[in-house]
């Protein structure tokens, strides 16, 4: 193979869904983990599927990987901000003391729910724990 590989054919993942993807120029699979990068975004979506949640609630419901490794506020803040920028969640701040901020799913975020559901279904067999040797 050459030093770098290039491709001429357009994307055609037909067989997976049977859907016409001819109008799509960017592979959804690659876009997916570009949009959902960072370690906690998928989990945050899961949490918010249960309804609006406060910053602290999300943080507390978040486990770090497998163990009880906690998430630091710095990271949670960044993840939430990125997700807001991408239109997956909305942020609503209440003018009270102590501060109260609630995050919830947008339409765009809800569009990912079927994917989340499949991931949970996939995990219900425990394969992910096997693979990671938990």
């Amino acid at each position: 193979m050459n030093k770098t590989m290039t491709e001429s054919r357009g994307p055609a993942f037909s067989s997976l869904t049977g859907l016409d993807m001819s109008h799509i120029r960017l592979c959804p699979a690659i876009a997916f983990n570009q949009i959902l990068n960072g370690r906690y975004k998928l989990h945050i979506l899961c949490v918010l599927y249960g309804g609006p949640r406060r910053y602290g609630e999300i943080g507390r419901s978040l486990l770090h990987g497998s163990l009880n490794r906690p998430i630091t506020p710095r990271i949670l803040s960044r993840e939430l901000k990125q997700m807001e920028e991408r239109g997956l969640i909305t942020r609503k701040a209440y003018p009270v003391v102590p501060k109260r901020v609630e995050y919830s799913l947008t339409e765009r975020g809800r569009a990912l729910v079927p994917v989340l559901a499949e991931i949970i279904r996939w995990g219900s067999s425990g394969v992910h724990e096997e693979i990671l040797g938990v």
Copy 2:
């Protein structure tokens, strides 16, 4: 919030699937992008869904992100090896010259197909291109 957040409740993503997850200790969503890290693994799974593929075929069918940025052999090799280590794909080398190596999905890899399908379905509306501003 404290400097670090910890959590006492077990995972409960019940509402998403209606499945009993009490026996699961690690959040599938977090495990998912720990197992499918790297930029190309999801895409590689899609390609291999079409049947066994050679190293060069996979490389050629892989676009880098959105543009025609090519993947370097070094990276493809690493991705494939990691996926093999995690039991998602198998590697079969034929004793011929020039070398011929074929990769294919394992049971474990096939278990992810429903997730892939949902991701493609999600992308069929073009949301991912909107979000990334392609």
